[in-house]
């Protein structure tokens, strides 16, 4: 690792930032001028908070593979799984590497939600934003023999008796849970959300016919639909998907319910990462997103790759965080006060 040499620029930067702040000058440009180097040297760690095999882990490994193979980034990229604390261990590990050029954090939903549900200080606004560049849709599925044909009928069924419609999903506070909360809010009904130990266990409970409803990603749902084990009610994106397998699935919005929710992944640097390194990543990710192999691999899994560049990612993250906070508060899961 290169901690000792990474510490030096940071001290310079710190001094400058004090100076800059005192002078009331924007400090963004100042450290950049001090650096001759334009790219990090040595291996770069991509830190994720899931165990191997989790979606963000798989995505980052795939991204790292293509970035290295296509020589977009020549430094060896190593994906490390620093599990624990619902991503907070990974998050805090990167938070502690102030200004380090050789580490980035994979941004996934728990980076936003764990601080909210556990009442911890937020991380998303303290890390150096790099880019969000992978987006995923979600669909609602019901049992294939369910009498429910669309969202309206689902809401009608749920309205008959409170908590009579059972929904399987991952742990409390997960994406699945939040989607169930959105359905409750949009349909003004109460569902019976049963948290299982992760997505796989929830899917097993659904396939075993123990619950009526569940949230899946299209790549999980389509094989089930094809083999007659599930039926898709709605896609939760703001407009219909362009993929041929998905284009006939109506959005929830079309059906008159304002349920728009998705997944997003990206990268962020440790706090105080200099502008040159951010630029380095910005360029690399722009090339990655333009890479046909990368696009094809995502399309296979019904994911999209639209790049939100470093310059725009800050307000984007802010909006994402506020949406999650509002929803989790509705679900009674937020421990964080309204205003930071």
């Amino acid at each position: 690792m290169i901690q000792p040499c990474a510490a030096r620029p940071f001290h310079l930067q710190l001094k400058h930032s004090v100076l800059a702040a005192a002078l009331g000058v924007a400090l963004a440009a100042a450290p950049a001028a001090l650096h001759a180097q334009t790219a990090p040297t040595g291996p770069i760690e991509i830190t994720t908070g899931t165990s191997p095999g989790g979606t963000p882990d798989v995505l980052m490994r795939r991204a790292a593979k293509i970035l290295n193979e296509q020589k977009i980034i020549t430094n060896p990229l190593v994906v490390q799984n620093r599990t624990g604390g619902s991503w907070m261990v990974a998050g805090n590990f990167v938070m502690g590497k102030k200004g380090d050029h050789n580490i980035v954090l994979c941004i996934a939903q728990p980076i936003l939600t764990t601080p909210i549900t556990q009442g911890l200080p937020t991380l998303y606004d303290k890390l150096t934003p790099i880019s969000m560049f992978i987006q995923g849709d979600l669909v609602l599925v019901v049992q294939p023999d369910s009498p429910v044909k669309d969202l309206k009928q689902l809401v009608e069924l749920a309205a008959k008796r409170e908590r009579s419609v059972k929904v399987a999903g991952a742990q409390s506070g997960s994406t699945d849970h939040m989607v169930a909360g959105l359905v409750e809010k949009a349909g003004k009904v109460k569902l019976n959300y049963v948290p299982f130990d992760g997505g796989g266990a929830a899917q097993a409970a659904f396939l075993g016919g123990n619950v009526e409803l569940m949230t899946l990603t299209p790549s999980e749902a389509l094989p089930l639909v094809k083999s007659g084990k599930a039926r898709i009610l709605a896609i939760l994106s703001s407009e219909r998907s362009a993929a041929p397998e998905l284009k006939d699935i109506p959005t929830a919005k079309e059906q008159g319910y304002d349920i728009v929710w998705g997944q997003a992944w990206g990268l962020a640097g440790p706090p105080g990462l200099d502008a040159d390194t951010v630029k380095f990543w910005d360029n690399a990710i722009a090339k990655l997103v333009a890479n046909p192999e990368w696009q094809a691999s995502l399309k296979e899994n019904f994911l999209r790759s639209r790049m939100i560049p470093a310059a725009e990612v800050k307000p984007y993250m802010q909006k994402l965080h506020d949406e999650h906070l509002a929803l989790l508060r509705d679900l009674g899961l937020a421990k964080q006060p309204a205003v930071q």
């Binding site: 690792m1 000792p4 760690e45 190593v78 490390q80 908590r163 019976n192």
Partner: protein
């Protein structure tokens, strides 16, 4: 054994009380199913019952079974080893995993076990080669590194 049993009963009792107090504010029941405090409550209750049972049984048992703990020298050696291990853990962030564990091996073999120097050095070298070769070089596990880069 009597004293040991009394200490076990006391420790279990205080642990159970700790569990009970630590989860007192959580909901015992939620809607259809038990809440967060349900399991801790019953685990703690069982713990307290078992602590009392052990206490009473030991009171009733007059058998003068000797305790299991080793003599003073044994205790000193066990504590020394444990202290060495904790010292190693504290040293890891400062000097790196390899250096800290090398120091620990030497401390254990030469300081506590008082083995001859050459075999001890050899054993340490073998262990470190194994750790470096398997964990760092082959599996690529990011063990903490020290100022020397390993």
């Amino acid at each position: 054994m009597r004293v040991t049993n009394f200490i076990v009963a006391l420790a279990l009792f205080s642990l159970s009380s700790g569990v009970l107090l630590g989860t007192w504010d959580l909901p015992y029941w939620a809607d259809f199913a038990p809440g967060s405090a349900f399991a801790p409550f019953w685990v703690a209750t069982v713990g307290i019952i078992l602590a009392l049972a052990l206490f009473v049984a030991t009171l009733a048992d007059e058998g003068g079974e000797p305790h299991n703990f080793p003599d003073r020298r044994g205790i000193v050696r066990v504590i020394a080893l444990m202290a060495g291990l904790w010292l190693m853990v504290l040293l890891i962030p400062l000097v790196g995993f390899i250096s800290a564990s090398t120091l620990f091996c030497l401390l254990l073999l030469l300081g506590i076990e008082r083995r001859p120097l050459v075999p001890s050095l050899f054993a340490t070298a073998v262990v470190m080669t194994l750790v470096y070769g398997v964990f760092i070089a082959w599996l690529g596990i990011a063990l903490p590194t020290g100022p020397f880069g390993i």
